[in-house]
Structures are given as structure tokens and as C-alpha cells.
């Protein structure tokens, strides 16, 4: 059977996605569950800082191709610049050049170019992905090079590798630490997921973003549950989040109080749950509920 894929997202960054995910992983391991870990926040992957993976396999990730104009062959007809929808072609010192950060790699410039060899599409190495061993099991993670695009495809690759490992060893769960936002990397994280856990906090900003994240999950028909982190920060907003869950018909999985202990645990390189045993009940309730939900 295909492994159940549980994805943690938040909309807003910094609500505690990775804190919850890493504690989830730590708890599952201590309770003898088998799982593969996937860090899909390839822009700013942080799980490895806690899980200290030993890299067993490293691969380069080739993203989209980017146009390159050969100055010698270019006849400066200007057609590529006129057609490019991404405004990626600049004239520098009289030469036509492609701005690699803006080029989307569609290749229209090459199609419209009247000279055979003036434009080449060059595949880009945009990151690396790894399969590693951790104390809690296998982990797939990646690093997107700064400034690179196509993180959605890299996320898809990370999840794909995690499923290959799970299929081979008959592992029932894949735990995915998702990226912030609602854009391409998030939709890639949600695509094919069995369950999305949205980690929120009782701040206006996080509520606003949570609603967008939940709607994005709905858009991809992924069932959702809500976790409220830093709950004690604002009772009124905490209540509003619970009411929102009820109104939307999504399960409220539980809450974690605002705690300096968690910050200290992370600063010392510990899992939140490991460093704050007084929060065991809070975390455990959430984790058990998630596993019930994905049954």
C-alpha cells in the first residue's frame, strides 16, 4: 500500500511548522512507528539542523533550461526582446543578454530567433537532494541554490524519493515538513498528500495566512486539520481559530502554549518535545489525532 503522506504547512512562516514536525518525528520514533522524513521546505530547509542526517546519497537537481544568447551570432534584430513575456532580455553595452533570474525557460525566444545558433537553451543545476540516515529513520532533503527557481519540481522530487524508499521497505508513513506561503512549492507539497496539518498561531497575520493555506489544501482536495501553536499569546484569537475550524468543518487537532522553553530547546539543538517534557500531553494529543485522522 502506498504510504500515507502527512504534510505540515502554515501559510505564514515562523508559526512552528518545523518545531511541530520535528517533535512529531521524535515522538513517532520513540513510539516505534516506521516512517520516512521529507523536508519539502527546500528554500530554507531546517530539519537537518535537528535531525543531523548522515548523507548516504547526493544527487544534483537539474531544473529548467535558461536561454543564452551567443553574442557572435546575434544580429540584434530585437525579436526575442519583443516576444519575451518575462522581460528577461536586456541590452547591455549594445549586446542582447538574458537575465537568468527572470528567464522562465519557456524557449519562445529561441523559436522566434531568425538565426539558427544565436540562442541556446541551457539546463541549469539549481540544487541538490540527499537521502540520509537519521536516528529516527531515513530522510530525504534538499538544498535549492539561493536565487534558483523551480523549487516546486525539487519538492516533487523529494517526495518522490521518499515514496520510493517507503514502497521498497513497506513503510506506512511519510512525514513532510512543508514550505511557507501558498505558491508553487506548497502546491507541490500538497499534491498527492494524504493529509495536511496546518500549524497556526493566534496572531492576525497567521490567521489570515492560515485561511489561505487551508483554502489551498481544499483546492487540491487534501483533508486538513489545524494545530494552534503559541496558543496562550492571545485568548481571543485562539478562540477565533477554534471557531474557524468548526465553521470550516475541519478537525481542531490541539494546541501548544506560548513557551520560552521551546525557544530554549531549539537554541540548544533539541526537539521541542524533548526539551519541554511538561508539554508532552499537548503534543501527544495532537500526534495521536493526526494518526487517527489518516487511518
Amino acid at each position: 500500500m502506498r504510504a500515507k503522506e502527512i504534510v505540515l504547512i502554515s501559510g505564514k512562516g515562523g508559526t512552528g511548522k518545523t518545531t511541530v514536525t520535528s517533535s512529531f518525528v521524535w515522538w513517532m520514533h520513540n513510539n516505534n512507528y516506521n516512517f520516512v522524513i521529507a523536508d519539502a521546505d527546500v528554500d530554507a530547509a531546517d530539519m537537518h539542523l535537528l535531525l543531523k542526517p548522515q548523507i548516504k546519497r547526493k544527487e544534483y537537481f537539474t531544473g529548467k533550461s535558461i536561454a543564452k544568447i551567443n553574442t557572435e551570432s546575434c544580429i540584434s534584430c530585437d525579436l526575442c526582446k519583443q516576444y519575451c513575456r518575462f522581460d528577461a532580455i536586456d541590452i547591455i553595452d549594445g549586446n542582447y543578454v538574458v537575465n537568468p533570474f527572470r528567464c522562465d525557460g519557456c524557449g519562445l525566444c529561441k523559436l522566434v530567433c531568425p538565426v539558427d545558433s544565436a540562442i541556446d537553451m541551457i539546463p541549469q543545476t539549481v540544487g541538490e537532494w540527499y537521502i540520509s540516515d537519521t536516528n529516527s529513520g531515513k530522510m530525504v532533503h534538499a538544498k535549492l541554490y539561493p536565487g534558483a527557481e523551480n523549487s516546486g519540481n525539487l519538492v516533487t522530487m523529494v517526495k518522490h524519493q521518499a515514496h520510493l524508499i517507503a514502497d521498497e521497505a513497506n513503510i506506512p508513513y511519510i512525514i513532510v515538513d512543508g514550505p511557507p506561503g501558498i505558491g508553487c512549492p506548497v502546491t507541490s507539497s500538497l499534491s498527492g498528500a494524504s493529509y495536511a496539518v496546518v500549524v497556526s498561531e493566534p496572531t492576525f497575520s497567521a490567521i489570515h495566512d492560515m485561511e489561505r493555506a487551508v483554502d489551498t489544501a481544499f483546492h487540491f482536495r487534501v483533508p486538513v486539520g489545524l494545530v494552534l501553536n503559541k496558543a496562550s499569546l492571545n485568548d481571543k484569537n485562539a478562540q477565533a481559530i477554534k471557531e474557524y475550524a468548526e465553521k470550516k468543518g475541519i478537525p481542531f487537532l490541539g494546541s501548544i502554549p506560548f513557551s520560552k522553553c521551546i525557544v530554549d530547546a531549539l537554541v540548544n539543538g533539541k526537539f521541542a518535545l524533548e526539551g519541554c517534557p511538561e508539554l508532552t500531553e499537548n503534543f501527544e494529543k495532537i500526534f495521536k489525532k493526526i494518526l487517527e485522522e489518516v487511518k
Binding site: 528554500d43 530554507a44 523559436l111
Partner: protein, 278 residues
């Protein structure tokens, strides 16, 4: 001058700092380029005076003229079009389309594939006292925020002074697009291992882009030297610190910020950045 407020990690306090800063140096312009999750409006509470759609062109196939040859689908680099030749049907997946225009270019039949605008988000403008406010809001499920960010930042007027651009999190294309418009970059970080690791990625990117930059330390705790040590090692200045206080977190949660408290010191910070940009 345009200052971009960025950070590798989300939730380090970009918007907190950006709105405090825009308020301190008013008259100013605050631009929320985090179009996936724009939050600046929560704190600045602007009156919106203008809202316009952000659209891009997507294909529409005219059944009577289409010969279902399939060239558009074959050439689409994003696999957003499917042509079913036997049943003479076509499918379009708008969430995959990047509006590159190849389909229209390659279509051999005149008028069989036309491009029509599709709304992908909105750009809103308004005022919060003497802060000019601008933001972009991306529609859910859209593949890339870059064109909207680009369009939003082009709306910054040459006459707009003291421009603060609130950047998206991360270090990928949307951030590159945003930093491209800035004269100076402030990277907001926090003294945790996650914060510093993500900051190091943002530093790498900002250096690649050859933008002058400095660090803002948020959630500062005088007993914790993690960020200070990193900055020293990398030879980067920490130009400002916001303390780690539950009170600030609590007012933030209500959509409020202690604007007056940091006003004077933030004005001094602005003078310092001006000196550095000159």
C-alpha cells in the same frame, strides 16, 4: 531610496520591522511584496483607495477554427494544454500555465488559439496617515508570484521617497525579483539555529546580487550570542535590535505594534543607511 526588508526564514519579523520602520520615517511608502501572504495591512491599517486586477494572458481555443493538430500542446513547456485528437477536445490547466505565449505563436491556424486575460491577483493602493501603502495579493493556486511582484514594484513612483519593500520569505526567484529593486537590503533574523542557517542562505543570495546589506536582530536576548557570533564571523553589521518580549508578541497577535517606542532609534538607523548608500 528603496530599502528591502528580507529574511531567509519566515516569521523572523520582516513585517513587524518593515511596518515599524515605514512608520518611523514617514512620509514614506510601504510596499508589501510578500504577495502570497501579505500582512502589512494588518498593522498599518491603510484606507484602500485604488484596487486593480492583475491579469496575464492565457490561451483560449476557438472550437470552430481549431484543427486539433496538437502543436500547441506539444510545444507548451509547462504541459498546460492537452489536445485529444480523436475526440476533437481540448483541455487547459490554468494552474500550470505561465503565460509565456508559445501556444499562440506556434498555432498554424489563424484565430484558432487566442489569448485572453485571466485575473491572477490584485494590486491595491492606499494611505495610512502619511504612509503611502501598496500591496499585491496573489490568487490561490497560482504557480508563480514573480510577475505580480514585478508589476507591483514597477508601480513605485520615482517621486516616492523613503520606500520600504517588505519582501517574501525564502531565497528563490520571488526574493531575487524583489531585491532587484532595492538600493539597500536589511536581513531580519533571530538568534536561533534555524534563523541563522536560513539567514546564511539569504546572505549568500544578497552577496550574489551585489546589494549592500546589514542584519536586523529580532527577538534579541542579551544572553544569547548566536547571531552576533555569526555576524562577526561573516563581517556583517547588525544595525538594529528588537528585543524578545512577550508584550511585543502579544500586541503583534492583536495586529498592533508599539510604533512610538522605536520611532527615534529607527530614524537614526535610516540616517545611517543613507550614509552607507551614498
Amino acid at each position: 531610496m528603496k530599502i528591502a526588508i528580507a529574511s531567509g526564514k519566515g516569521g523572523t519579523g520582516k513585517t513587524t520591522f518593515a511596518t515599524l520602520f515605514a512608520h518611523a520615517i514617514r512620509p514614506s511608502t510601504y510596499v508589501d511584496a510578500d504577495v502570497e501572504e501579505p500582512n502589512g495591512h494588518i498593522f498599518l491599517k491603510p484606507e484602500i483607495e485604488e484596487e486593480k486586477d492583475f491579469s496575464e494572458l492565457v490561451p483560449k481555443i476557438i472550437d470552430e477554427k481549431c484543427t486539433f493538430c496538437g502543436i500547441c500542446a506539444d510545444e507548451c513547456p509547462y504541459k498546460a494544454l492537452v489536445i485529444l485528437k480523436p475526440t476533437k477536445k481540448w483541455l487547459f490547466f490554468p494552474e500550470l500555465c505561465h503565460s509565456c505565449g508559445i501556444c499562440a505563436y506556434v498555432c498554424p491556424v489563424k484565430g484558432a488559439l487566442v489569448e485572453v486575460p485571466k485575473k491572477k491577483g490584485v494590486i491595491r493602493k492606499g494611505k495610512a496617515g502619511n504612509i503611502k501603502f501598496m500591496e499585491g495579493i496573489l490568487n490561490l493556486g497560482e504557480p508563480t508570484p514573480v510577475p505580480l511582484i514585478s508589476s507591483l514594484l514597477r508601480e513605485i513612483d520615482e517621486k516616492d521617497q523613503n520606500v520600504i519593500i517588505d519582501a517574501p520569505p525564502g531565497t528563490s526567484c520571488p526574493v531575487v525579483e524583489t531585491l532587484g529593486f532595492a538600493d539597500f537590503v536589511l536581513l531580519v533574523s533571530e538568534p536561533t539555529p534555524f534563523g541563522i542557517y536560513d539567514l546564511s542562505l539569504a546572505v549568500e543570495l544578497t552577496r550574489d546580487l551585489k546589494k549592500p546589506f546589514a542584519i536586523i536582530e529580532n527577538k534579541y536576548n542579551p544572553d544569547n550570542h548566536l547571531l552576533e557570533d555569526y555576524a562577526k564571523k561573516e563581517n556583517i553589521d547588525i544595525l538594529y535590535r528588537l528585543p524578545f518580549e512577550e508584550e511585543i508578541a502579544k500586541s503583534y497577535s492583536k495586529g498592533e505594534l508599539p510604533f512610538e517606542r522605536f520611532e527615534e532609534s529607527l530614524r537614526q538607523l535610516y540616517e545611517e543607511i543613507k550614509r552607507r548608500v551614498k
